[in-house]
Symmetry: C2
Subunit: 201 residues, 2 copies
Amino acid sequence: MSDLAGTTARRGRPGYDRDQILAVAVAVFNEQGYDATSVAQLAARLGVSKAALYHHFDSKEQLLQLALERALGGLEGALDAHATGEESASERLGAVLRGAVRVLVDELPYVTLLLRVRGNSVIERAALQRRRAFDRRVTALVRDAQREGSVRADIDASVATRLAFGMVNSLVEWYRPGGPESADQLARDVLAVTLDGLRTR
Amino acid sequence: MSDLAGTTARRGRPGYDRDQILAVAVAVFNEQGYDATSVAQLAARLGVSKAALYHHFDSKEQLLQLALERALGGLEGALDAHATGEESASERLGAVLRGAVRVLVDELPYVTLLLRVRGNSVIERAALQRRRAFDRRVTALVRDAQREGSVRADIDASVATRLAFGMVNSLVEWYRPGGPESADQLARDVLAVTLDGLRTR
């Protein structure tokens, strides 16, 4: 049995820590779908035995839960950092959108997995519930910005939130690290379109 | 064997025409994934025999091809209608975006299927190629609008196209016919955010 957690490689195999195992598992989930992936396939991809994998993780479900936590925790952190404060609601909304783009860029595979969750299990339904709670908090921020007059009031706050995050989330479809757009440039572009639009004045 | 194309129901079973079979197939593909769906499952959902299904369609692949054609043909039609013309490039861009929202609303299950295609077969790769050709034509329109000075030039035209269509395409995640937003209202909202942004001036 290979030494999954070992700091020294045995028989040419690398030792993996929990984060590295999680990263490989998430890559495989994104490639072939979570439901279609077996623990045996994950072990094969890592070049370790199933027993070695189970030494670190209780189940495939636990890997999913940790991966979704990483994405959701990041997005909630970006919201917590700016949901309240002394700045105007529209400035805080901009900061939340910028923070969300950063989380998406930094945790791309984890957010990709989160956005594909359809609610097929207890863990997936809990993740969807947290996404909805996140959306409600952003919607409240948009509503505050509408009240202060800094965001247009002719669009329903929940529709505006969905459209803005629709744009942010669509980055997982085409953004790849190391491409021509840096993460900072991307965040600036998303903010520019969401807040000020494409049209010149 | 039931009469799949029959105008009269036999033994209580409805007759289906090709469009109705396609609609049911697309619904099943979206629910459980195209790759995971068998012809036997489609026949079972329709309450007909596999042979009856094969009377109308050669294969599962043909159903996929027809479904993707409906989505792509609709989107390309919206672009063809406005890609050239006497209006300004930014007006034509707005018309293309409005047309794309309409296609998405009218052909929601077909566009949903198209957006989930990952290139696992010849048919899927051909669809991805048509999507890329569509994106390139919209990007050229954005570039024309930048040249005429009506669209901001500080965002790369292909990034602007991807962000705008990221917002449009995200509608498949939450828009449901008969909801509080009408298709027209939705198209107005998407255009308002994409072209003018959320921020008041």
